[in-house]
């Protein structure tokens, strides 16, 4: 079945319906209460982790190094056994309840961080490695097909060491795609590429996966990569998932302090909430959800406007501390009362350090969960 022709999976449409849908309707991959402790460690590397991936979805696990994301991927691939919890895929139990399906029986594609191409085999042999049960003609046809798909036709007889990093990466992808897996796991596949090439490869691979209707789980520490690549992502910390959602949800409404900070620069203010608004040192803030009492709120730097004059009753007077010009925008560090605040702006108005300006939040501030919640 694995190497047979699968019907193209039906496109699920709930992403277009709305971004707030957390529960997948028909999961292809279900991870539930997964835990893994290494034999020499005390703390679990993966701790009671659960998430689901829909058929045809591109899912990213995002987190700093050491958060356990690669371990999750290796558990799904079958290279390790979980201590607790279960992994099921398309109705089959891969791990859990004492059962364990070895990696060679899972039919999942895996693209390794360092590609793991067989150094003694030429490109075509590497790609054909997973097709040994096919007839020679079919094997040849499929090899040519995937090599063409990744734009590596003409390299069939090269050995891996004679390829550049990006070429090796494409061969690794072709090799993983050749047996037509329904699920592809990608372990930091872009981290060994230089910045320019990385974006191109990422867009390329995303397009290929979408076109082939392949479900994928990507592991990365680069939040931009995760947001661009994935339909949904899970932000991990210390073996747990802090938040799962679409890139927009995660970026615009982070649930925890960790997620807010990990997804990009943000301004944090401890303030007293009074229902839908809060009177903070950064001025009167609208809250994205009602809250009462002391709360920590986050406002992204680009959600402020900056102006030379007070053009709004809520605008707060501030003093410019520093200015960094980054080409497409400018970041100002300004002082508002006792606190520093970052403001991104496209405004070309050349404020200089020492200038008096007025800032105002134009988007609701995000109320973060209290630690431990």
């Amino acid at each position: 079945m694995r190497n047979g022709d699968f019907p193209r999976p039906l496109r699920t449409t709930h992403y277009e319906i709305g971004h707030t849908l957390h529960c997948t309707i028909n999961p292809l991959l279900t991870i539930s209460c997964l835990s893994k402790t290494f034999s020499d460690g005390v703390l679990p590397v993966v701790n009671e982790l659960s998430f689901e991936v829909e058929d045809g979805e591109l899912f990213a696990l995002l987190g700093p190094s050491g958060c356990g994301k690669t371990t999750v991927l290796r558990l799904i691939g079958g290279f390790m056994r979980p201590n607790h919890g279960s992994i099921s895929f398309d109705g089959r139990l891969f791990a859990g309840d004492g059962s364990f399906v070895p990696p060679e029986k899972r039919g999942i594609g895996f693209v390794f961080q360092d590609y793991a191409l067989f150094p003694h085999l030429a490109v075509a042999q590497n790609v054909a490695f997973g097709l040994r049960k096919e007839k020679a003609a079919v094997r040849k046809e499929r090899t040519d097909e995937v090599l063409k798909l990744v734009g590596m036709e003409g390299f069939e007889d090269r050995l891996p060491h004679a390829l550049s990093g990006g070429q090796q990466q494409r061969v690794a992808l072709a090799r993983a795609l050749a047996p037509r897996p329904r699920l592809l796991l990608l372990d930091e596949p872009f981290s060994n590429l230089d910045a320019y090439f990385r974006n191109e490869m990422r867009d390329n691979i995303r397009a290929i996966l979408k076109e082939e209707g392949i479900t994928a789980v990507l592991v990365t520490h680069d939040q931009e990569e995760a947001m661009v690549f994935a339909d949904r992502l899970g932000v991990m910390q210390g073996g747990r998932v802090d938040q799962i959602g679409t890139p927009e949800e995660i970026y615009l409404t982070p649930r925890t302090l960790f997620v807010a900070q990990f997804m990009g620069q943000t301004n944090l203010v401890l303030t007293h909430a009074d229902g839908a608004t809060a009177d903070s040192v950064l001025g009167k803030l609208t809250l994205h959800r009602p809250a009462e009492g002391m709360v920590l709120v986050a406002v992204r730097p680009e959600h402020f406007t900056i102006a030379p004059t007070a053009d709004h009753p809520d605008a707060m007077e501030a003093t410019v501390l520093s200015r960094s010009f980054k080409g497409h925008d400018i970041t100002y560090r300004v002082q508002v009362g006792p606190v520093d605040c970052l403001v991104h702006t496209h405004n070309r108005e050349p404020f200089a350090p020492g200038d008096t300006v007025f800032i105002r939040a134009v988007e609701p501030a995000v109320v973060l969960d209290k630690a431990g919640e």
Partner: protein
């Protein structure tokens, strides 16, 4: 670390490892069993004999002497190659490696056959070496490469930044050498020295030809001439304990000493210091080492060959060559086949049983060959008499004794082969065993070949194990050299010695070219 869990248990990995452990440990325990046969008074008499003390003195004296001699050769030679602008470095290095192709008993033979009234050097009126001096010279000349290679590698691997740092802190060249360079060479010196000490302890060919009574020679005499098996077992146990002490000493000395470069990036290469007024002595020294270690054995053999080979000797030679290969080839294959799972377990599935299996393989290697052969004899006579004096037992003995030589290269190749490769193969539908053979094995081929060549070479040259365990009518090249040389039939020994040296040189050359 936990013992591999049940689901990780794979017979094709643990089966061979278990076989190695049993093959090495069971015979050795029979040695103990045999030693304690006889009543208490007799045992006390055997153990407390005055002769034992003399044997101990002789053995230790020879070991110390050889260590001094090899240091005196290897240190300057390694320094010249690694740190000076001496010309023809590949050639000098070759001079430091080639004696490895000359078995000890051939070196002893060369010393004996070149001196004396009819020898190649008869014009010099040198006394024919024998006893301590003869054994000392022969052993030193053929074992110094172990130290040379270790020291050379260590010198080339030193971080020159450390020396620059010392100089910037006000140390003179001489002080830098003494206080910075020499201390860093210590691990290499211990490693090479241990190998040499083990060779001296285990040596039988040289001391028997030179008639110098060490433990090995005495064991042989007791076993072959006096038929006193219990005393032979005791002597073997004493030799074994001496070996154990050496190993422990080495471990103690090396504990906590790791001198790898700590910085990142690739190191600068060291600048070579000009020889200056040392030019003439340096070339003289290299010439002397080359003459003694390489030219002497070769020219002696050629000289005696030139004096004519009797008819019929060539067919004897051919049958000896075939006999040698009939045992050494299967042994090389078997040793490598055992080394692969043992090395794999220790690299990829580290646990205490895996480490133990590897240690036991090294124990088999360090066990003096006479003691090991004697242990196997006691074991087979007691438990498996049908194996006694069979070719199978000889092959197994070679394989168990020399498999450590195959573990080394396989181990380092396994460390270099990425684990992910095998996972990629699993991911693409291969069972664990097939994933290994299709993904990792192709990357190990070169090292497996190297390991096999090393074991083959050692088995080819091996004398005492062959002596004690060979089937009736079996006559190897090594036995040919030794038998003739011990009766001063130098022209009879010459063709055997030539074939041994030529085969060894060819194999060593092959290994060096691959490396």
């Amino acid at each position: 670390m936990p013992v591999a869990r049940l689901h990780d248990f794979r017979w094709y990995l643990w089966g061979p490892a278990l076989l190695v452990a049993v093959g090495v440990l069971v015979p050795l325990s029979y040695l103990v069993l045999r030693a304690f046969q006889g009543d208490a008074g007799e045992l006390a008499d055997l153990v407390l004999r005055r002769r034992n003390l003399r044997l101990l003195g002789n053995t230790l004296g020879l070991t110390a002497g050889v260590l001094l001699l090899t240091s005196a050769i290897a240190f300057p030679l390694a320094w010249l190659v690694a740190r000076t602008d001496i010309k023809g470095k590949p050639f000098v290095t070759l001079l430091g490696v080639l004696p490895l192709a000359v078995p000890g008993y051939v070196m002893a033979y060369a010393l004996m056959a070149s001196t004396g009234p009819s020898g190649l050097l008869s014009g010099l009126h040198l006394p024919r070496p024998s006893g301590y001096a003869g054994a000392w010279l022969a052993l030193g000349l053929y074992t110094f490469p172990y130290l040379f290679l270790n020291l050379r590698a260590a010198l080339l691997g030193l971080d020159p930044a450390l020396e620059d740092a010392a100089q910037s802190l006000g140390y003179s060249n001489r002080e830098v050498a003494r206080r910075v360079v020499l201390p860093q060479l210590r691990p290499a010196f211990f490693a090479g020295g241990l190998l040499i000490a083990l060779h001296v302890l285990g040596d039988f060919g040289v001391v028997s030809l030179m008639r110098f009574e060490t433990f090995s020679y005495a064991i042989y005499l007791q076993y072959a001439a006096a038929f006193d098996r219990v005393y032979a077992a005791w002597l073997a146990l004493m030799l074994l304990s001496l070996t154990g002490v050496m190993l422990l000493l080495e471990m103690r000395l090396l504990r906590g000493r790791r001198y790898e470069r700590t910085g990142s990036g690739s190191a600068r290469t060291t600048s070579m210091s000009p020889l200056g007024r040392w030019t003439a002595p340096a070339y003289g020294f290299v010439g002397l080492v080359g003459m003694a270690g390489v030219a002497l054995p070769v020219s002696t053999v050629v000289y005696w060959l030139g004096r004519g080979v009797e008819h019929g000797r060539w067919s004897d030679l051919l049958s000896a060559f075939l006999d040698s290969c009939s045992a050494a080839l299967p042994a090389a294959v078997l040793a490598t086949a055992l080394a692969l799972p043992v090395a794999y377990l220790s690299v990829r599935k580290p646990s205490w049983p895996a480490r133990a299996a590897e240690r036991i393989a090294y124990l088999g290697y360090a066990t003096p060959p006479l003691a090991f052969a004697l242990a196997l004899i006691f074991f087979t006579l007691r438990s498996a008499p049908f194996l006694y004096q069979s070719l199978g037992l000889l092959i197994a003995a070679y394989a168990l004794h020399f498999m450590a030589e195959a573990i080394g290269p396989v181990r380092s190749a396994l460390y270099q082969a990425p684990v992910r490769i095998q996972e990629a193969a699993r991911n693409l539908g291969r069972s664990p065993l097939r994933a290994f053979f299709e993904g990792t094995f192709p990357l190990l081929r070169g090292s497996l070949g190297a390991g096999m060549a090393l074991v083959f070479l050692s088995a080819l040259k091996e004398l005492p194990i062959t002596f004690l365990l060979s089937p009736l009518g079996f006559r190897s090249l090594a036995m040919g050299v030794w038998g003739a040389a011990s009766e001063s039939l130098f022209s009879v020994a010459a063709p055997y010695a030539l074939v041994l040296m030529a085969t060894s040189t060819a194999l060593v050359g092959l290994l060096l070219r691959k490396a």
